[in-house]
C-alpha cells in the first residue's frame, strides 16, 4: 500500500481557475465542494486531511469553499516526483508550462528507536517544530548532513560511538564527522530530507507520515529557509525536539563557516541557549538565609524554647536549655584543654545524647568537629587523626591511634567561652572515601549548614512539633542533616542506638513509641523497615539520601502511608556540597512510572551538566554534574591540588562549583536525573553497562524484594573476564527463575552471569549497600597468573601474596583490605626481595602499585 512516509504534499491557494487538462492521464483532478468558508474549522480539517493522504504516484485535489476561495492540494511519492516536480505540476495546473517528470528511487530505511535525549515518560501524539532561518543559512544537503551528524554525536555524549546513522531518501548513511559517510543497513532514529526548492507562501509537507522517530526536513520559503522536525507519536519530549532543532541550526552555521570544523570544537549552544540551560539548573525559588554560625543559630532556638525537649536518648532527655548548658560546659572544658578557635577536634562517640552535646560544644568553642565512627578499624582512625592533624579526640575508646584521647568525663571547665568566629569558619570536616584514592576531609563552613536548614525549613514545614531520628553515624554527613536540621528548627532529636538501627523490628518500635515525624533514611535501610509491619507510625516526612532510590520500591510504603499523610522526598546529595543538592517529592505516580528524577536543586543550590571540556550541555544530554551555590564546601583539608581540581570558579555566576564526578542530565523541566558515577561506568565485553538498569529490571520481578548488581573480574587486569553478579532478596520463587526472566528483558550482554539469593543485603555502618561484604557467587577465586620481573610486576607479586588477592596496577591498597600490619609485611618482603625501601607513610600517600612505582622512581632519580 502507499506509504505516507514516502510522500510529500503541497497546498497552493488559487488566484484563478485551474486547467485540469494540464494533467496527463491517468492522473485526474478530484474536485471537492466543502460546505464551509475557507476560514472555518471544517475547511482547515479538510485541508489537513487532504494533505495527509498517501498516494502511489500523484494526486491532485481541488478544494472549493463556500466563500469562493479554493486550494489546490498535490500529494506525490517523492520517488515519483521530487520537490521541484511537485512545484512544476502546481504551476502547470495554474496555467504554466508542461509538467516535467523526474522519477528517482526512494530507498526504504528501517526506523530505529527514540534517542535517549529525546525520550520522555509520557507518550505524546506525533507533532512537529519548525524553525525559520535566514536565506543565507540554506547550506547544502551535505552541510546539513554533517551538521546533523555532529549534533547527534554531541548529544549522544558519553554513549556516542563517534558517528551517527542518518536516514535519507537514498538510504541510511553512517556519518562520521570529519570522516567518511558510508551507506549502512543500520536502523536510523533520525532522518533528513533536504529540498532546495522555494515553495513561496504555500504550505509544504515534506513527509505525510513521519518515517523516523525524528525526521528533519529543509526547504525554501521565499527568502527564508524552513528547518522542520517532525516527530512520531510515542514517548518523545517535544521540548527536547525543539531544543535539538535550535542547536542543529547553530551547529550548521558553524559547519558552513568552517566545513573542516572538528565535531568536538563545535559550540552546541549559543550565548542565549547557554543562559537558558544555566537557568534550567537553578530552582524556581530563591534562598532566603542570613549567614550565621551553628552555635549562634542554636542559641537563638534555645532562647526561644528553653523547656522544649531537644534530645531523647533512651531514658535520658535534654531540654534545649540543658543542651545549651551542657554544651557550654564542653566548650569551656575544651578551651581548658587548649582548644582554640580554628582548631579541629576529633569526635569518636557512639550515637548518644553525649555525642550531640559534644558536637555542639566543639562548634561553640570555635573549632570544627572531625567525626569518626568507633566501629571504624584502627587504621582508618589513625589515618584520620594524621590527615586532619588531630591533637585531641573526644572518645570513650581507651586510646585513639595518632591523637590524644579525652573522655567526655574529663572535659570540665569553669570559664564560659563564646566563639567570635564567623559563619565562614569550618563547622566540621567529614571524610569521604571516594571510589578511588584515600579518604579526603571535606571542610564545610557554618554558613552552608545554615543555608541547608533555611532552604528546607519552609518547604518541609520543619518546626518544634517535629520529632527526628538520629539514625546515621556522625561520620556520615546524613547526620549533619539529622542533627542540625532538627535542632536549628526546634524539633526533638531521638537518638537511634547502633543496635536498634540494625534491627528493623526494634527500630519500628522506637519510631512508634517516640512518635517520630521526620525520618531520614538510605533506601537500603528503608527497604529493611518495609519488611516489617510499619502501619502504626506518625511519620509525616521521609527524606531519602545517600544512595540512588528505586522509586518503585516505595509502593508498599505508599499503600500504608498515602501521600496526603506522609510526604516522601528523595534528595540527591554530596558531602562536598553540604549533604543535599536536589529534592524531589515522590508521588505514587512517580513510583509507578519508575522515574529517575532526583528533582531540581534546593533553593540556593544550582546545577550544571557539562561535557569533559567543562562546556554546558543541553537538557537531556548526560554529562558530569557540577554543583554551585550555597552548599559548596571550602575544599579538601590539606589537599590543595585536589581542591583546585574539583572546586573551580562557577562558569556563569559568582562563586565556585564542585565537580561531582557523577553522571547526570537535566530534564527540560529542570529536574536532574542522576545516572551514577562517571568512573563507575563499567564495560563488559566492550558494551557499556548500566548496573542500575539491570537492577531496575530485577526489581520489576515480583519475586524480588531488593537487589544489588556488581561487576567483578576473575582476572582483575583482564577486562575480558568481567562478569555481572546479581544478588537478590527473594519474596518468593528462586534465583534461577529470576535470572531466566531477566534474560527475557535484558540484552545478552547485560544479563547477570550469576544471580545469588541472600537473606538480606549487607549494609555499611552508613546504611548503604556494602559491596565488599557481598559473598562470592561461586567458591574460589582464580589464582593470579605469573608476572614478569619489572618493578611493577614484582610489587604485584609481593602485594598479592601478602593481601591474598590478585592486585592490579591501580588497585587501592586499602580497598583490597590493606592495613598497617599488611603494610609492614609488604615492606619486609620488599626488603627481602632486594626492592627499594618503602616507608609506611609513603604507602599511605601512594596506595596503588602504579603510584608507588612512580614515587620510587622519583626518589631514585633524586639520589
Amino acid at each position: 500500500m502507499f506509504s505516507g512516509a514516502r510522500c510529500h504534499a503541497l497546498r497552493v491557494r488559487l488566484a484563478g481557475p485551474v486547467r485540469p487538462e494540464a494533467l496527463t492521464a491517468p492522473t485526474r483532478l478530484w474536485v471537492e465542494d466543502v460546505p464551509a468558508t475557507s476560514t472555518e474549522p471544517l475547511a482547515e480539517r479538510r485541508r489537513s486531511v487532504e494533505l495527509g493522504r498517501p498516494v502511489g504516484d500523484l494526486r491532485c485535489t481541488l478544494l472549493r469553499y463556500r466563500d469562493g476561495v479554493a486550494d489546490l492540494v498535490l500529494v506525490a511519492d517523492r520517488g515519483h516526483l521530487d520537490a521541484a516536480g511537485l512545484r512544476a505540476v502546481a504551476l502547470a495546473l495554474m496555467g504554466g508550462s508542461a509538467v516535467p517528470s523526474t522519477p528517482r528511487s526512494v530507498v526504504s530505511v528501517a526506523a530505529g528507536g527514540v534517542p535517549d535525549w529525546a525520550a520522555a515518560l509520557e507518550p505524546v501524539e506525533a507533532g512537529s517544530f519548525e524553525l525559520c532561518l535566514l536565506g543565507s543559512e540554506g547550506g547544502t544537503a551535505e552541510s546539513w548532513r554533517t551538521a546533523l551528524a555532529i549534533t547527534l554525536v554531541r548529544y549522544a555524549s558519553v554513549d556516542s560511538p563517534g558517528w551517527a546513522v542518518i536516514g535519507t531518501d537514498a538510504g541510511a548513511v553512517r556519518v562520521t564527522p570529519g570522516g567518511p559517510a558510508e551507506p549502512t543497513d543500520e536502523p536510523a532514529s533520525v532522518g533528513l530530507l533536504v529540498s532546495d526548492v522555494d515553495f513561496g507562501v504555500n504550505e509544504y509537507r515534506p513527509c505525510l507520515a513521519v518515517p523516523f522517530p525524528l525526521t528533519f526536513s529543509l526547504w525554501r520559503k521565499g527568502d527564508t529557509v524552513r528547518l522542520r522536525c517532525d516527530h512520531q507519536a510515542g514517548r518523545i519530549s517535544p521540548a527536547q525536539v525543539e531544543q535539538f532543532t535550535r542547536h542543529l541550526a547553530h551547529v550548521h552555521r558553524q559547519v558552513v563557516a568552517n566545513p573542516e570544523v572538528a565535531a568536538d570544537d563545535v559550540e552546541l549552544l549559543d550565548a542565549a541557549e547557554r543562559a537558558r540551560v544555566a537557568e534550567l539548573g537553578r530552582p524556581a525559588e530563591e534562598l532566603r538565609t542570613t549567614p550565621t554560625r551553628i552555635d549562634a543559630a542554636f542559641r537563638a532556638v534555645a532562647a526561644r524554647t528553653p523547656d522544649q525537649v531537644a534530645v531523647t536518648d533512651g531514658q535520658v532527655s535534654l531540654t534545649y536549655h540543658e543542651l545549651d548548658e551542657r554544651s557550654d560546659a564542653v566548650a569551656s572544658g575544651l578551651r581548658a584543654l587548649g582548644v582554640v578557635e580554628g582548631d579541629r577536634v576529633g569526635v569518636c562517640l557512639e550515637r548518644t545524647a553525649e555525642l550531640v552535646v559534644t558536637l555542639l560544644g566543639v562548634v561553640k568553642v570555635g573549632a570544627a568537629y572531625v567525626p569518626t565512627d568507633p566501629a571504624y578499624p584502627a587504621e582508618r582512625l589513625a589515618y584520620t587523626a594524621q590527615d586532619a592533624s588531630l591533637k585531641l579526640v573526644v572518645t570513650r575508646l581507651p586510646e585513639f591511634p595518632g591523637a590524644q584521647a579525652v573522655s567526655p568525663d574529663d572535659i570540665v571547665g569553669a570559664e564560659p567561652v563564646s566563639s567570635t568566629g564567623s559563619p565562614d569558619d569550618p563547622a566540621y570536616v567529614i571524610y569521604t572515601s571516594g571510589s578511588t584514592g584515600r579518604p579526603k576531609g571535606v571542610v564545610v563552613p557554618h554558613r552552608n549548614v545554615i543555608a541547608l536548614v533555611d532552604a528546607t525549613r519552609d518547604e518541609y514545614r520543619l518546626g518544634s512539633a517535629d520529632v527526628w531520628t538520629l539514625f546515621h553515624s556522625s561520620a556520615f554527613d546524613f547526620s549533619v542533616w539529622e542533627i542540625w536540621g532538627c535542632l536549628l528548627t526546634g524539633g526533638r532529636l531521638v537518638v537511634v542506638p547502633y543496635f536498634v538501627s540494625r534491627e528493623p523490628e526494634r527500630f519500628r518500635d522506637l519510631l512508634a513509641a517516640e512518635r517520630v515525624t521526620v525520618l531520614s533514611q538510605t533506601p537500603s535501610a528503608f527497604s529493611q523497615l518495609l519488611d516489617v509491619r510499619h502501619d502504626d507510625l506518625a511519620v509525616r516526612l521521609v527524606v531519602f539520601g545517600g544512595e540512588p532510590l528505586d522509586q518503585r520500591a516505595l509502593l508498599p510504603w505508599f499503600d500504608v502511608h498515602p501521600e496526603s499523610v506522609c510526604r516522601v522526598v528523595n534528595m540527591f546529595g554530596i558531602t562536598e556540597t553540604t549533604v543535599h543538592v536536589t529534592h524531589q517529592t515522590v508521588s505514587r505516580a512517580d513510583a509507578l512510572a519508575g522515574s529517575r528524577s532526583v528533582g531540581p536543586a534546593l533553593p540556593g543550590w544550582h546545577l550544571y551538566v557539562v561535557d569533559p571540556r567543562g562546556r554546558l550541555l543541553p537538557s537531556g544530554v548526560p554529562g558530569e554534574i557540577w554543583v554551585g551555590g550555597a552548599g559548596v564546601a571550602a575544599g579538601y583539608l590539606e589537599r590543595d591540588d585536589l581542591t583546585a581540581q574539583r572546586f573551580t570558579d562557577d562558569p556563569v555566576l559568582p562563586g565556585r562549583v564542585y565537580h561531582s564526578g557523577d553522571l547526570g542530565r537535566l530534564r527540560p523541566d529542570g529536574a536532574l536525573e542522576h545516572l551514577g558515577r562517571i568512573d563507575s561506568q563499567v564495560k563488559v565485553r566492550g558494551f557499556r553497562i548500566e548496573l542500575d538498569e539491570i537492577r531496575a529490571v530485577l526489581l520489576e520481578d515480583p519475586d524480588v524484594r531488593t537487589a544489588a548488581v556488581v561487576v567483578r573480574r576473575d582476572d582483575p587486569y583482564d577486562a575480558a573476564t568481567a562478569r555481572i553478579d546479581a544478588y537478590v532478596v527473594l519474596a518468593s520463587g528462586d534465583a534461577v527463575g529470576v535470572r531466566k526472566r531477566a534474560a527475557e528483558i535484558l540484552p545478552d550482554y547485560m544479563v547477570p552471569t550469576t544471580v545469588t539469593a541472600l537473606e538480606s543485603l549487607p549494609l555499611t555502618t552508613n546504611g548503604k549497600l556494602d559491596v565488599a561484604k557481598l559473598p562470592a557467587p561461586s567458591a574460589g577465586r582464580p589464582v593470579e597468573a605469573p608476572v614478569g620481573d619489572d618493578l611493577a610486576s614484582r610489587l604485584r607479586e609481593v602485594w598479592g601474596s601478602v593481601l591474598g588477592v590478585p592486585v592490579g596496577l591501580d588497585d587501592d591498597f586499602f580497598e583490597l583490605g590493606g592495613n598497617s600490619l599488611f603494610a609492614v609485611r609488604i615492606g619486609a618482603r620488599m626488603r627481602e626481595g632486594g626492592l627499594p625501601a618503602l616507608q609506611l607513610r609513603e604507602l599511605y600517600r601512594h596506595p596503588t602499585i602504579r603510584s608507588v612505582v612512580s614515587a620510587l622512581a622519583v626518589k631514585g632519580n633524586g639520589g
Binding site: M1, E50, P54
Partner: protein
C-alpha cells in the same frame, strides 16, 4: 471526533443501517466510499436501494463535512467490488474501515425442503459471499497498512435460528463464522474483524429501511402484528433504531475498540440474552 482522517467503505449504503452508519461515521470526521447495488435483483421479492437513495445518503454525509465517493457495486460481482476498492484507493490512498452491510432478507418464508436451489444460492451469495469478496479485496491493503477494521453486519439470525428463514439464518451464521476466522487471519497484521448482530430494526422514514416489512411479508403476517410481536420479544421493549446499530459500527471502526477483534456485538435490546 473519533474517525477524523479515516476512510470508511460501506456497502448497502443507500438506505437503512447502511445510511445510518454512513451518516454517523461522517459526523465523527470520516471520509466515505458509499457502495450500493442501486438496482433490483431478480429473485428478491422487494425493491433494493436506488441510485437516488445512495446519492441522498452521500449528501447527508457531505453536509456533515465528509468527503464522499459513491459507486454502484454489486457484492455478487468480483469485478464490481474490485473496481470500487481501486477507486477508493486512488482517491483516498488508504481504507481504514469496511462495513459489510449489504444483505437481503428475502426470498424467505419457506421450510428448508421448500427452498429452491436458486433461492439458497442467491441468499448465500449476497449475505455471506458478498462480505467475503470485499474482505478479499481490502485484506491485503489493510495488512500492508498494518491497520484496519472490518465490521460485518450480521443479525441475531447469526446466533439463533428463526423459523422459515433457513437461508438467511445459515448465511448470517456463516458471516459470524467468517468474522471469527478472518479475525484470526488478520490479527498479526493489526487488522480487526468484528460482527454486529442487530435485532429487529425499525423501518424509519429517515433511513428509508424496509427490512422488517419484508420479513413480515415473507411470513405472510400483517406488518402491525409483526412489529408488536418483535417489540415484545426484545426485553428493552422497543425495536432497535438504525442509529443504535450505527453507534456500534462507529465504535468498532474507531480506535476506541483497538483490542476488540473476533467479537460479536449484539444490538438487540436483550433478545439473545434469553
Amino acid at each position: 471526533m473519533r474517525l477524523t482522517g479515516k476512510v470508511v467503505v460501506i456497502t448497502g449504503a443507500a438506505r437503512g443501517i447502511g445510511r445510518a452508519s454512513a451518516v454517523a461515521c461522517a459526523a465523527e470526521g470520516a471520509d466515505l466510499v458509499l457502495l450500493d447495488v442501486c438496482a433490483d435483483l431478480p429473485g428478491v421479492p422487494y425493491p433494493l436501494g436506488s441510485a437516488g437513495q445512495l446519492e441522498h445518503t452521500a449528501q447527508l454525509c457531505r453536509d456533515r463535512g465528509a468527503s464522499v465517493l459513491t459507486a454502484k457495486a454489486d457484492v455478487r460481482d468480483t469485478t464490481s467490488v474490485r473496481d470500487a476498492v481501486a477507486l477508493a484507493a486512488e482517491r483516498y490512498g488508504r481504507i481504514d474501515a469496511v462495513v459489510n452491510n449489504a444483505g437481503i432478507a428475502a426470498p424467505s418464508g419457506k421450510r428448508v425442503h421448500e427452498i429452491t436451489e436458486d433461492e439458497w444460492s442467491l441468499m448465500l451469495d449476497v449475505d455471506l459471499t458478498g462480505a467475503w469478496r470485499l474482505i478479499r479485496e481490502v485484506g491485503r491493503m489493510m495488512s500492508d497498512q498494518r491497520s484496519g477494521s472490518i465490521v460485518n453486519i450480521a443479525s441475531t439470525a447469526g446466533l439463533v435460528g428463526y423459523r422459515h428463514f433457513a437461508g438467511y439464518v445459515a448465511a448470517k451464521h456463516g458471516l459470524v463464522g467468517l468474522t471469527k476466522a478472518a479475525a484470526l487471519d488478520y490479527a498479526p497484521m493489526k487488522v480487526r474483524v468484528n460482527a454486529v448482530c442487530p435485532g429487529n430494526v425499525r423501518d424509519t422514514a429517515e433511513a428509508e429501511g424496509r427490512m422488517l416489512r419484508e420479513i413480515a411479508r415473507a411470513l405472510d403476517v400483517p406488518a402491525d402484528e409483526h412489529v408488536a410481536a418483535f417489540t415484545q420479544s426484545q426485553p428493552m421493549n422497543r425495536l432497535v433504531e438504525p442509529d443504535d446499530v450505527a453507534g456500534a459500527v462507529v465504535f468498532l471502526a474507531s480506535d476506541d475498540s483497538a483490542q476488540v477483534t473476533g467479537s460479536v456485538l449484539t444490538v438487540d435490546g436483550g433478545f439473545t440474552a434469553h
